[in-house]
């Protein structure tokens, strides 16, 4: 095969460049966070002691991995898709046995040399491959409910495991596959119902229970009044509206408080509440109360507040590279990983943040464009998976740093410090590029 002589053939260089730019920005941001005036930065860059130099090493590793992926045959991915998925699930399960506890979640496998692997990061790739494999099977008819349920289970199994590992943020990311399934024919009702459910929960938090019940009733009555002619023809519609209304009020009055008080842990509930500017009273939380006798401590929204201060103080043009006091003073916790966007926002202001967002958006649109030019279902589904995972990561992470969403603890793709994250996104993207390069081949 002549492909091995010329691996660059058919590779989408736009994505490669965007990838390289983002990784470079990431290293720059980590450097900005770690920088101290009194150290020789060149030395520490090469020393391997600081996080930015580690990230530099990771990116070197990523170059190797990317080249290896581009060198492999794209048939390999379809062949090993299911196998890798099973491997990923086993890896995730193994953390319960050999896992290492890092910042409250026992989801890491120590690799030695100070490096740790988080299987849930890697498992996203395998899940994407497995979903693509399943949907591209000849015998799969995605219009059937059974196939949809199987696809949903494939996607949500790792999510369930990661919730058990206290990595609820990562679990959220697995919901991104519903976007892919929607593209492949899942009824939009699923998305709409899901969205409505989220909207209902948010409004439960924001609006007084009684007021919300009245608002819901008014909406239901208005709908009944507007469609009174239809109802005369079909009695079923009336019952449907009544059932929806009843379900909504039930969720709002009982289910949501139940979830926050009995299902979620105190800190999680408090995070959700604080994202909408509310205080959560931990004394109501049954789970925390059960765990320890002492009164649950009320966590505050320090992270998000400091992050908002950092971003807000950037202004239009930013405070300049290495000049942000919030960043230099390390006021934002986790500012080299989850909250790295705060440093970027402070240093480069609105202008920089906007350009940065546009790079991301351009990358996402580019990936969708790539997806749509695939001839094989496998490649298309996989490409959509990549776009959706990236999108969920970006949206959750940035919304968290700017205070639009409770902090779920997901990384900013290609920017946040961390080998697992960088490597897994690299693999994710370069498998896509390999598949795309072979788009002329029909891979079923």
């Amino acid at each position: 095969m002549n492909r091995q002589n010329n691996i660059s053939q058919g590779v989408d260089y736009v994505v490669v460049w965007l990838y390289a730019v983002l990784v470079a920005i990431g290293i720059l941001c980590i450097f900005m966070v770690e920088y101290r005036t009194d150290t020789n930065w060149l030395q520490s860059f090469l020393g391997g002691k600081t996080n930015y130099s580690k990230q530099l090493i990771f990116s070197g590793i990523c170059v190797v991995i990317a080249l290896l992926i581009l060198l492999t045959d794209s048939k390999l991915f379809t062949a090993f898709a299911n196998l890798s998925y099973i491997l990923g699930i086993l890896l995730m399960l193994s953390t319960f046995v050999i896992g290492k506890n890092i910042s409250g979640s026992k989801s890491w496998i120590p690799l030695g040399g100070g490096f740790n692997l988080q299987p849930v990061e890697i498992c996203k790739i395998f899940t994407a491959l497995a979903l693509a494999k399943y949907l591209s099977r000849q015998e799969t008819d995605f219009t059937k409910l059974k196939s949809q349920v199987i696809a949903g289970v494939i996607c949500l199994l790792p999510a369930v495991i990661s919730v058990a590992q206290h990595e609820s943020g990562m679990a959220l990311v697995y919901f991104s596959f519903f976007l892919v399934m929607y593209r492949e024919g899942l009824s939009p009702a699923v998305l709409i119902i899901g969205f409505s459910f989220v909207a209902l929960i948010i409004s439960t938090l924001l609006i007084e229970p009684n007021t919300l019940a009245i608002i819901l009733s008014v909406i239901a009555l208005t709908f009944l009044y507007l469609s009174r002619k239809n109802i005369k023809k079909r009695k079923g519609l009336l019952y449907l509206v009544l059932v929806i209304w009843f379900a909504c009020v039930g969720i709002q009055r009982f289910a949501v408080p139940f979830i926050f008080n009995n299902v979620l842990e105190c800190y999680q509930s408090a995070r959700v509440y604080s994202a909408f500017g509310k205080d959560y009273d931990c004394s109501q939380n049954k789970r925390s109360a059960k765990k320890s006798d002492k009164a649950p401590r009320k966590p505050d929204d320090y992270n998000v507040r400091q992050s908002k201060i950092a971003i807000g103080s950037g202004g239009f043009w930013g405070r300049g590279f290495l000049k942000g006091t919030q960043t230099r003073g390390k006021y934002v916790p986790e500012q080299h990983t989850d909250f790295i966007f705060a440093s970027l926002g402070e240093a480069f202001g609105f202008a920089g943040s906007f350009v940065f967002l546009m790079i991301y958006l351009f990358l996402l649109i580019r990936i969708i464009t790539i997806a749509e030019r695939q001839r094989s279902t496998f490649s298309r589904v996989y490409a959509y998976s990549v776009a959706s995972i990236l999108f969920f990561h970006i949206a959750f992470n940035i919304c968290m740093t700017i205070g639009l969403f409770p902090s779920p603890g997901v990384t900013l793709p290609l920017i946040s410090y961390g080998g697992s994250s960088l490597v897994s996104f690299t693999i994710l993207i370069f498998i896509l590029l390999r598949l795309d390069a072979d788009r002329q081949m029909v891979l079923r």
Binding site: Y182, R183, I311, F350, S353, I368, F391
Partner: protein
């Protein structure tokens, strides 16, 4: 299948774009329209270190420093960093218990949040500082911070100089725009308060960048916004420290006041209110120990009687009565009356006179020298019933106007806070008292003419009156500060009122001469005849003011020398009896010391004698005795408790014994008994405690 769902690609792209749009809108909101975040970031990251300037020094007229600055240390805590330290060890060093420690930390957090440093223990004693300094490394979150503290090398003029203290919330509210912050010290009384803006200087601010643990990262913008501390400016006063010390000594064991003014400038040479206290007991860490006792003291050592005490001027008022009549043209210096032992023209009211011999009031000079009550009752009625004004009320109002012009019944705006105006009653007061404007006349208020009735004056007002007489009709408002170092325009405005000559009367020099002669005669053959200043002729007037609450107040006003007066004095000794007995010698020695710069050998013995004369009312002595008994009982109980605990030494007992080892009593006439020194430093009159002290081993 793919063809079927192609349009959904667009939907997904729209979802992406919509979410990015929401993010962008929030970014616009945060970064472009919310200015509070920039401020919040600065509050986070910029640490403003206040550099305290040295406070200005107050000098006396010979450029001797009445107070100085020394360094003391505060123990500062940042509660959020002071976690996990050996609390017990620190408590042991500070000699407090852990409950007190927790309370202070709570207070600090409440007052100043847990991330900002607040004062944990202010003004450490030198040995406490030494002990802490060695162990500081054990207590992260705690640090020692320098603070400049006042000391008073002459142990004198406590009430005049005032004191500085940490500002409280009430002070901050009152002086909102003057840049004070919690933890600052400001002048709270006396000259420290009045000239606060001059003395405080300008604080410098250094800005540093700090991290989330409040560790300093370096100067902010390389010190571009830093300001330098500008030291407070010095004050040069007219106080003569030696005269002040002498006057304080003379007033020991008495309740009263003395004021000496240079009539040519209005500069106050000495001002004493007894009992006074040693200013060193209200500085540094001594303050907390002594403050409560000072405030509770029934003799009010912090109360400046010289500007707040209200006394009927009695006979010392007579020269002013004469001046009013002279200025109005009602009498001439040669006017005289025949007095046969009293003034009876009013029928119901009969004013007795000390003298019966005929001719003792045949002219103004004689009437003054003999302090004839009849004469001054007569001329007072002339002033009130002056036909020119038509009615008693109008006559009285004109008379009151004179009083105010001479500085009575109004504030003289001396440069000390909370001066009292004393009282020249308004007509409304008499209307109320007598039941209507028609119900009283010059006879009803006759004793105003001899400085009694409802009129009162402060010792400062009396001394100022002497200045007017000495100057033959003008005065400068009495004040302490002659000049301010590097005087600014603002200071010139502040000082302007003290440099403004006030002309009070249009009486001719010859008429004044009659008053001067009369007052001179007082010192030659009159009531003050036995009080002499070696080599100096002086003019004086004694006064014995009736006191409804007890023994008469003794008053004495004087100026010296007779020609070209250089000092005017007023002395009041409460319950002192005759003016010439208690107050007279005090005034004499003050003038002698100021004019001759020394006191004759014979005088020195007399000074000791006067100083020891005890004129404190028994009610106050009884109060001290009661307090002493209570304290002894408390000490005994504590000792018993300590013994019960089988401790080697009770802390309370040892603090009692070394309460104030560094302070010396002003008088210096002590026998060396240590615990007696303590008391006398606190309160100059140590007499009431003698019994108990001698009873102690």
């Amino acid at each position: 299948m793919s063809v079927f769902n192609q349009s959904r690609s667009r939907v997904i792209q729209i979802i992406f774009a919509a979410v990015f749009l929401v993010i962008t809108i929030q970014l616009i909101n945060l970064q472009l329209f919310s200015s509070k975040y920039k401020l919040a970031a600065e509050n986070n990251a910029i640490y403003r270190k206040i550099v305290y300037p040295d406070r200005g020094i107050i000098f006396d007229r010979k450029k001797r420093a009445l107070l100085e600055n020394t360094i003391s240390y505060d123990l500062i805590v940042t509660p959020s960093e002071a976690k996990g330290i050996d609390t017990l060890a620190l408590c042991n060093l500070l000699e407090i218990d852990t409950a007190e420690y927790k309370k202070r930390i709570r207070d600090a957090i409440f007052k100043n949040t847990s991330v900002k440093p607040s004062v944990f223990e202010p003004l450490l004693s030198p040995d406490m500082y030494a002990r802490l300094n060695e162990n500081m490394y054990k207590f992260p979150g705690f640090m020692l911070s320098e603070r400049s503290v006042r000391t008073y090398p002459y142990n004198t003029a406590a009430q005049l100089l005032g004191y500085i203290a940490e500002v409280d919330t009430a002070f901050l509210r009152k002086h909102k725009d003057e840049g004070y912050e919690m933890g600052d010290y400001a002048g709270m009384n006396g000259l420290e308060r009045t000239y606060e803006s001059v003395l405080m200087g300008q604080r410098g601010i250094k800005r540093f960048i700090r991290d989330n643990k409040s560790r300093i990262q370096g100067p902010y913008e390389n010190g571009l916004f830093d300001t330098v501390a500008i030291a407070g400016r010095n004050l040069y006063t007219s106080i003569d420290v030696e005269v002040q010390q002498l006057a304080e000594k003379l007033l020991q064991n008495k309740i009263g006041s003395a004021v000496a003014i240079n009539p040519r400038t209005g500069g106050i040479i000495a001002m004493v209110s007894s009992p006074t206290y040693n200013p060193n007991v209200l500085t540094g860490n001594a303050r907390r120990k002594n403050w409560g006792r000072m405030v509770m003291d029934t003799a009010k050592p912090m109360y400046n009687r010289a500007i707040k005490g209200q006394y009927p001027p009695g006979s010392t008022f007579k020269p002013l009565g004469a001046l009013v009549a002279l200025d109005e043209g009602l009498i001439t210096p040669s006017y005289g009356i025949g007095c046969a032992g009293g003034y009876g023209a009013c029928g119901g009211v009969y004013v007795r006179c000390e003298h019966k011999n005929p001719g003792h009031a045949s002219n103004l000079r004689l009437a003054l020298a003999n302090s004839c009550n009849s004469y001054f009752s007569d001329i007072f009625r002339k002033a009130i019933d002056n036909r020119k004004y038509g009615s008693t009320i109008k006559g009285y109002l004109k008379w009151k106007e004179y009083m105010n012009a001479f500085g009575l019944g109004r504030r003289l705006e001396v440069d000390l806070p909370s001066e009292d105006r004393a009282s020249i009653p308004d007509t409304s007061k008499y209307n109320r008292f007598f039941g209507g404007p028609k119900r009283w006349n010059s006879c009803s208020v006759l004793t105003l003419g001899i400085g009694q009735d409802m009129m009162t004056a402060t010792p400062l007002q009396m001394a100022n009156l002497m200045c007017i007489i000495a100057n033959k009709g003008y005065y400068y408002p009495p004040h302490f500060v002659d000049s301010i170092e590097n005087e600014t325009d603002e200071d010139t405005v502040l000082m302007g009122k003290y440099r403004n000559k006030h002309i009070v009367t249009n009486i001719s020099d010859s008429a004044y001469q009659a008053v001067h002669d009369g007052m001179h005669d007082v010192t030659v053959y009159g009531t003050a005849a036995y009080i002499k200043i070696p080599g100096i002729e002086y003019c004086a007037k004694t006064g014995t003011a009736q006191n409804p609450h007890g023994k008469n107040h003794s008053l004495f006003v004087a100026f010296a020398p007779k020609e070209n007066p250089k000092i005017a004095v007023a002395v009041v000794v409460e319950n002192g009896g005759y003016g010439s007995v208690a107050a007279g010698p005090i005034a004499g020695f003050i003038m002698e010391k100021y004019l001759n710069d020394t006191i004759s050998k014979a005088g020195l013995a007399r000074v000791e004698e006067v100083s020891k004369t005890d004129l404190i009312p028994s009610a106050i002595k009884n109060w001290y005795q009661r307090k002493d008994i209570e304290r002894q009982a408390r000490i005994a109980m504590e000792e018993a408790a300590a013994r019960a605990e089988e401790k080697e030494e009770s802390h309370k007992g040892s603090t009692e014994a070394q309460l104030e080892p560094e302070s010396r009593p002003v008088g210096g006439n002590d026998t060396g008994n240590k615990s007696k020194q303590i008391k006398s430093s606190l309160l100059l009159n140590n007499e009431p405690r003698k019994r108990r002290d001698t009873g102690k081993p």
